[in-house]
Symmetry: D2
Subunit: 462 residues, 4 copies
């Protein structure tokens, strides 16, 4: 099949063409992977039947080997014939085993024992082996920037307006902290995923015929796959753990989107505090050779907008009639697209963060725009502390005077007699801040260190 | 590429494996199609430049022929090199034309003149040539059932409880009417789509250098593609017409989902008023051979749940900073998946509707469960009309008596002296309804005819 | 009740405390209003019964007068007793009419004949009398700014980066055009709303007992309220027209949100092209007296985020089982909050737009940042037109040279020998643009006029 | 204010009129409550200033007493004057303290130190004191039903079709388990909420001027309120913990909605396995006296549909520009409506669950419809186990024969010679199941016990 005959941009654009991404995701999120995981469950069943004394080791090995050989193409061909995906899978295994092994294939299971367990297993392994390492790599990259720039002065902004001074490292620390929290949320969510081998309505009806303790049988089978059973299931495992995992991913995606928005805004022509470092050959725009668009940050935000609404479907899929209806079957096939889009965005953001250049000159110029006004805040607060009866109003007038005379606040202060007795009470450090508002960064640098240390320890980042 | 290496179920399952669906959608919704449409815009530009006297017919023909030859694979290879999709497209065309034609390729355009116009064009043609005919076919199928069953008695249900009698045709007429309305909404929305050839910020900056009347130039170019220009555009055409089209599709999808839910419920073991006619070979379940699951209806509902939330992204994509940011670029690449999922559901529902079997015996049995109680309503109303002072309370007691004595309401009525003088005032038709509540279907049959006639005329269905 | 005991911010903050807003919305969106509209339907029924010869004019007048007197408090008290809202309403009317009129109250109707019709009527009247006039007022305000600033130079921005020149009026024209389109969408949607008087399952079962032509009866009754009947209804009218109205409102809300985002960004400290004109007494921030936060624009965006997701519920509410389930009953009671939030935002944006100050000095300063680079685009295009074989690369080198020598592009051009022969071919107007990129605004001013004229005519704005 | 002048149904219908609900929610979710909690933070500040040696105990007491007296009405009046909600609050406190205490009111804080901390505190206390106890009460009610009905035979249903037998208690256990999981999710989420006292941009700029260790100051102040500080904050605390809380509530709401859907379906006329026990006086429908609509279950589902989409806003509100923009200010004011709607639904569901009547006769009748077919599954499985070479096909033919001859499967079995040798190998228990499929309930009863015991222990329910 021609890649560009595809309809989903995940397939033809973001995953299918990028060897690195494809190698990472194919073993977990492709349809081939899904079928491979279902075969793993069928093989695990055969082993479990040996333990129960239902079939011989030889038969289990026969089935296990057959599972290794079945392909998605075969299974789909059989499904086209008999219109049942799991029955088709079982038939494909059966066709590859000895006659006496045949009746032990899929023995006692219902389709969703395989489907739910296979999905939980592949998503868990995807998180542990692919997604979480990628997230930790992004976290590490951000920590490096945060620590490197922990003392780089930046004007803090609220409402898009200059507020009080911080450092660029402190800005980064906000994302280090939030991403750290989301990494833990994803770990906790994937840890809560549960398999099930409890039959068509969850009551172990069929397995009760064959196994002394069908609940123990379920536990043992799942254990060989590294899974725990749901405390209660119907035809399907309780949907909430899956909803939690999706929530943890989507809420982490929001952190990426927020970071991307911030960096886009800091890259505006008039602000220009950061930029992507371009490679020599890279062309900005076809008509304006100097233009450097924040396309990577824009892409991440765009992906977020496309996939965040997936949660609506997740919440709807929590509802299944009685012991289960099938209206969550097609919709859950789309979940891997969410994981793929998120992973692609994490990788993209790691790359662009690595070559993020901080323009100290522009940071400084922007800060200087509001330098004088920044001093007004500590001045008013310190006057108040040192007993000025009406500090806020007094300082407000000073700033108006400074604006009117087109001079700096400090110039006005220096020649103001009323101020002198109070200023005399100021400590040296306090005076220093008034005349050098660059110093008015509070705990920005200290906090940056604290946050980075915390997450380095917590996530064992070196 | 192996089909099952894909991640999106649209690609590997619902479209990629079904020849009929693939043939229908590939020319509009695949990435190949997208590139083909962008090339159409570039070719239309060349023709328009001839009209403006900018280049010769020969050159335009040269460019037009080159556009026919460019492939997605080439364009993506070039994009990998220079990191700009539309510039890559232009380079691919340039590489196939004579040296003197080269500078007229993409002349005066900005990327989004091509992107927006190509998308609008392909979605418009997809609607007109593929989606709307499929919807009309579904409407036709439903009209046939409605007319066929317009007199088939069914108990009407509110709150899932038996209410008053209708006919199965009347039930169908509800969906005929709602789908008809949505077909018109889709027509109206696709009719509102607009192209744009107004340059990088929408002000015709570059085109003003070359064309006497750049606004007329835009109009003429788009006209050759069958499009009208947006009254105002920035780098992009106003997003609302596209949002309207998506809304029309999603709200139509809800009608399909509602129909599917209803049919699923009518197919419940205890209700069994409809069923899909199975083919002889079809297997219901691996363990219960008689089981006939409403998997097609479940699939449509599931697809609806997966794609309805797309609207959240559509509303977010209405917001673009200043003359445009690019955060709607990736997200809009996912729109074809919505159209594909909807189309697939329309086709599926048409097929399953065609073989929908109505079980008159069960319809009748279900109605009989509530037959007596149904009579209570017209009885109370007619007693009231004919002057009974306290009809509701009186009838309520009659029904309680009937319940207690485990007999029918009519039996109780016949031996009730107080009732006689009022019953004598009843017309024959009124009496008939009390004793044959099957007749109490109001305008169900008439309305079914009216609705079907209306939509047959409106949509020119024969 | 104490206003601040309320939980919804609509009630305690945005509507309940603002006399103007409250006066505008109370007659349509409050619970009192809802009950008043239901009483209107009951009164209209009485009149219709006279026409059918079922009751006398006197009785109808009796009922009509009673309807004027019933209060929400009474109805709720009765509902508490009997647990049925519409039956409670009917009881309250009955209690106020003569004995002989009593049996004609609510005669032949089902609850949802009243509920659906009353809602459609109040939303229609809310749109026509309150919302649309407010939107036209906002449109008018924006048109005034657009025309006033149609020649005010502004740098166009894409990706948040300076692109090509436009005018501030052209920026505004984008919103004039989009809002105009949405006003028409709302008009079209409210025009599509339909009432229903077709009984408990939509088949006119009860009304068929009494009226010769129950379909004509429905039409006539609704006509007196200014409504048309749905072509088909079940217990409820088809939900799509209501979904369309909500879509038209939410998609219009997105236009407001986009405008607000743009103005917030133009108000950033570093950009400062617009600002709200503050009143003399207004305090910006408690600590930084000069700070002027774009709180009104922020509020509109915030409201949009809170109410846009309402559409998810609208799409879900399109699905109702069989002849209706009641799972859309509570949810539809929340629709008035959407309308209120949107109206409040329209009014707020009108006020803040009226006092929007455009800072021409900053507009000019920002443009000058990119003035030289802006010239590069027309230069390259014109060189290309006049036969330069490799214009893009040539100009790219010129801009690099200018950057390196820290001089302007024009200075470099003037001393470049290779350029001269081409420049000689330039027309005077073409040269002018290269040396005065301020002129490179294309059709910005003309288009602004066109767009404003179009919508002034269309919406009859003077 | 007249209650029915309100627009939000929370205010005028679900909370404002119900004394019990109002008493429960008013102290946490009303606007009065919000202001009371902000005053708590201001009072806690005064105490913390004493510990730092900034002001005297006397002053702190003065402020604390003033905080007790400030009313919402006062604060709003002041806000109307100065257009700043927190400054207004501070002014109201100031007006009630001695002159020397005045400058210590709101000392060193930024508005959002108060807002974020107050919200976190009230939501935490709402969860702990109101919501979680109500949820545990619902869980307890469900556990009681589950245990009571653990052996009540019910046919399990998948796809709305009869599948294999379970018990009604097992059905309930599914919800006991899922609700238990969500209760723990809510506990975990409210436990993760964090306060902040870190100033306008989160860097402790102002507080660094006054306190030796501003980070310790924050910790101590919050500790007196029972809160922990965020590890990092900007003007606002990291938004993810709040998103997590909303997710835990919405995903729990889905469990309620699923239960309600199930009960509604089990209450269908044709199924009738459960019903709400009506009070003697309650009227079902105005026209059909026997009609008992599942309005409470419908209401819960409807509320879910109205409030589930709130999550879209929660995810959008995770994004805030730089050190914060204000576009989450209005939207977050709507969060209490979500909590109120959820609480109201929990209470409603507890009440209706308490009077849920299980109709054993109908359960039995429905099971009997599929009794014979249910036997086919264990028969085929056991034949297979005991060596039948083609059990599935063989049993399929038996069932067809039974259908054709209109007799039971067991009758056909008994006279089938081929079957005899295999049946002889069956154990007594196995034979019993074939002839009494009522016994084929697997571990339904055992699992019900296990699940109920688990959650009783875990949530300390007696």
């Amino acid at each position: 099949m021609d890649l560009f005959e595809n309809i989903s941009p995940i397939d033809y654009r973001y995953y299918g063409r990028d060897k690195e991404v494809k190698d990472a995701l194919l073993p977990y999120l492709s349809e081939n992977a899904y079928i491979r995981y279902k075969l793993k469950v069928e093989a695990a069943l055969a082993d479990a039947l040996v333990n129960e004394g239902i079939c011989s080791k030889e038969i289990a090995l026969d089935i296990s080997k057959a599972c290794d050989k079945v392909t998605a193409t075969e299974v789909y061909k059989e499904e086209d014939r008999i219109k049942h995906d799991i029955r088709a899978l079982a038939n494909c295994i059966r066709a590859k085993v000895s006659k006496k092994a045949r009746r032990f294939v899929h023995f006692s299971l219902t389709s969703y024992d395989v489907v739910d367990t296979a999905n939980v297993l592949r998503y868990k392994e995807f998180c542990e082996k692919v997604l979480l390492p990628a997230l930790v790599e992004l976290e590490k990259t951000w920590i490096e920037i945060a620590l490197r720039e922990k003392d780089t002065l930046q004007v803090g902004r609220t409402h898009g307006q200059h507020a009080e001074p911080i450092t660029f490292g402190f800005t980064m620390a906000s994302y280090v902290n939030r991403l750290g929290g989301r990494i833990e949320a994803i770990i906790s969510a994937e840890d809560g995923l549960r398999g099930k081998i409890s039959g068509a309505v969850g009551a172990y009806n069929a397995s009760s015929l064959f196994f002394k303790n069908p609940i123990a049988f379920e536990k043992n089978l799942l254990e060989t796959l590294g899974l725990e059973p749901a405390l209660h299931s119907t035809q399907i495992a309780a949907p909430e753990p899956m909803t939690d995992l999706m929530h943890s991913v989507v809420s982490a995606f929001a952190v990426l989107a927020n970071f991307s928005d911030d960096m886009r805004n800091l890259q505006r022509t008039e602000i220009a505090e950061v930029k992507e470092e371009f490679s020599a050959e890279q062309v900005g725009s076809s008509t304006m050779p100097h233009k450097r668009n924040p396309i990577n940050f824009e892409n991440v935000k765009s992906m977020y907008k496309a996939f965040m609404p997936t949660m609506m479907c997740a919440y709807l899929d929590e509802i299944s009639e009685h012991q289960r209806d099938l209206t969550n079957s097609a919709s859950q096939r789309f979940i891997p697209q969410l994981f793929a889009a998120f992973y692609v965005s994490v990788v993209r953001l790691t790359k662009v963060s690595r070559r993020l250049a901080v323009d100290k000159e522009n940071l400084s110029m922007n800060f200087d725009m509001s330098k004088e006004m920044v001093a007004a805040e500590p001045l008013y607060m310190l006057l108040s502390l040192h007993g000025h009866p009406d500090a806020h109003e007094y300082v407000r007038k000073l700033t108006l005077k400074a604006e009117k005379e087109e001079t700096g606040l400090r110039n006005v202060m220096e020649i103001d007699d009323e101020l002198e007795p109070y200023l005399n009470k100021f400590s040296d450090a306090e005076k220093e801040i008034i005349f050098n508002p660059d110093l008015y960064t509070g705990m920005a640098s200290v906090k940056t260190d604290m946050v980075c240390e915390f997450w380095k320890n917590r996530l064992q980042i070196k």
